[in-house]
Homo-oligomer: 337 residues x 2
DNA sequence: CTGTTAGCGCATTCAC
DNA sequence: GTGAATGCGCTAACAG
């Protein structure tokens, strides 16, 4: 059916190795021979088999990315960064979408079987001790995006500082009653997510630094989506002494808070200030004040780093920390009371 | 380094083929032998090389998806459907993101070189005549999603009907001055997108059927994003005799129209009705009236169909047409004037 | 039921 | 510079 390297060799009247050399741009071929081979290739419409090539060389020119809930805007944006970098380097991207804990574990196990891909990018999922060990033992190049782990390369932001940044903004505006809406503790633990937890730490630290007492009732946790966030915000707003501002651990959750405010007739930001996190695409549309993080860049940098590791370049910095930035839009203002 | 099938055979004291049979769940192995092999596998921590396996069998257990602008919510949702179906069948998904015409052409050419993957899913991009020929000649199984082409399998909706559905809703409400905001003609042609074009046809046909004259000034085209749509809607609304309703060819573009209305102080739906298309996630959040299409299902069905074709099951129906549905929310109402 | 054999298409040694 | 020879790890077809 399809022409093989042998056909090309025969057609060009050269040896098999010579064709291979031409394919791999080896300089050890005379211009005349090269042309003859090239002509044979065009004539036969020959195209080298990638699988055979991978098999013989041991390199697949493929990278896997494991992402939880890859429909989340923040994740998609990271993936776009990854894909762009990979494509530029001639690599392909295999995507694994993780929506259950079982699949999380399965994916993390599977990649210890170093096949099919030259390296792995793990987004937002932090490997556990045993998984770390297996990964190390397997020797698969791995780069973590949006997390970090001992002895692993990674690209991330400082979520604690991010939480502090958000809450400091609210405090600076004069707020003292500040609520928090973040990820469900159980779910975060099951998937081993860390960002909401760390942003929550930043929240607590900043309140403490400002001498504001922590109120358990002000801190709510639910599934990472609009619906749960909306419910939690309802609870918060119907407290006898409701917060005047709410820090949501993500823009998606901030959208739920926004809905709750609308439901209850609270004006934003007059009656309630809301700040999110991530600065996803719709944040600008909604005029949402948030903490910006370079999502696309995180993917790009992560892929770049992984490619360097695959290429054998030893990397010093275990974890690359990207800058974050407060973006003030229309959902935060001084408290009216 | 890593154990091979040969090591396992030696360890278990059996032949090479027997190990292979066990790996492939062949029933032609006695329980005793099977157990011995399985034990050897665990002992050696053996894991078969996928690349070698692909090479020998000719099957890669991998499917490629080519998607334009894969950060668009509608595309992501389709990809999620694809991934879910593929994963359930033990296949991996390689993603190609197309954001330029050059890359569109390159991707479509590349897949004619039937390597690395067992089949291809093409989202929203319609192959041209010559590309169709090359694809056919290469014999790569292909399924089109959100488009169709002669002799190609596909999963799609009827965009013309969708456009009619949207416009009929506006007419039923009493609107006569109905604007249209859709994709740039040049861009659509360059990428060979068809959905906006077809929805526009539906718009024209429905107006004609209702005896409403087409007004060129009411029909605007721009890049498929919020920003351009916003500008176009501005133009529309500042006409001497502005439309009382606007049909946007996608929810994303409807968001831009919504912004324009906000900019100009037009109340929605009192002063201006807006209807979108796709029913992406935020549509519900925004209370946007729109035409719902089963995005996730399109991916799922497409992948399922492709897998069947790869499996050698001849398929009759060239194109699977999914149902669409009008979803009335808060952005449409009878005209006030 | 099981062991043996022959490639899959290419990269990578080697000799020449 | 070039051609020929080996083997990557596995599946499939064949004898037993």
């Amino acid at each position: 059916m399809a022409a093989t390297i042998r056909d090309v060799a025969r057609q060009a009247g050269v040896g098999l190795g010579t064709v291979s050399r031409v394919l791999n741009n080896s300089p050890l071929v005379s211009p005349v021979t090269r042309k003859r081979v090239l002509d044979a290739i065009t004539e036969l419409r020959y195209s080298p088999s990638q699988i055979a090539r991978s098999f013989a060389s041991g390199k697949t020119l493929t990278v896997s990315a494991i992402a939880p809930f890859f429909t989340r805007p923040s994740v998609v944006e990271r993936l776009r960064g990854i894909e762009s970098q990979l494509t530029a380097s001639g690599y392909s991207l295999v995507v694994f979408n993780v929506e259950t804990v079982a699949r999380r574990d399965a994916c993390l196990q599977d990649i210890s079987r170093h096949d099919r891909c030259d390296g792995v990018l793990i987004i937002s999922l932090t490997p556990r001790e045993d998984e770390l060990l297996a990964l190390h033992e397997a020797g698969v190049p791995v780069v973590l995006i949006d997390t970090s782990a001992a002895g692993m390369h990674g690209v991330r932001i400082d979520d604690v500082s991010g939480g502090e940044l958000a809450v400091r903004h609210l405090i600076d505006l004069g707020h003292r009653r500040i609520g928090f809406v973040g990820d469900s503790i159980e779910q975060a633990r099951a998937f081993n997510f860390t960002s909401s937890r760390d942003r929550h730490s930043g929240y607590r630290q900043m309140l403490a630094a400002a001498g504001i007492a922590l109120r358990p009732a002000y801190q709510r946790h639910g599934v990472h989506d609009r619906y749960d966030a909306r419910i939690l915000a309802h609870e918060l707003l119907q407290l006898a002494d409701p917060p005047t501002a709410i820090f949501a651990a993500s823009d998606t959750q901030a959208m739920g808070v926004l809905e709750a405010a609308r439901d209850l007739g609270r004006r934003v930001p007059a009656d309630l200030s809301i700040i999110g996190f991530d600065d996803i695409d719709v944040a600008e549309y909604l005029g949402l004040t948030t903490v910006h993080q370079p999502l696309f860049m995180s993917g790009q940098r992560g892929a770049e780093l992984l490619l360097r590791i695959i290429g054998g370049e030893a990397q010093e910095s275990p974890s690359d920390v990207l800058p974050i930035e407060l973006v003030v839009r229309g959902t935060t203002a001084p408290p009216s009371a």
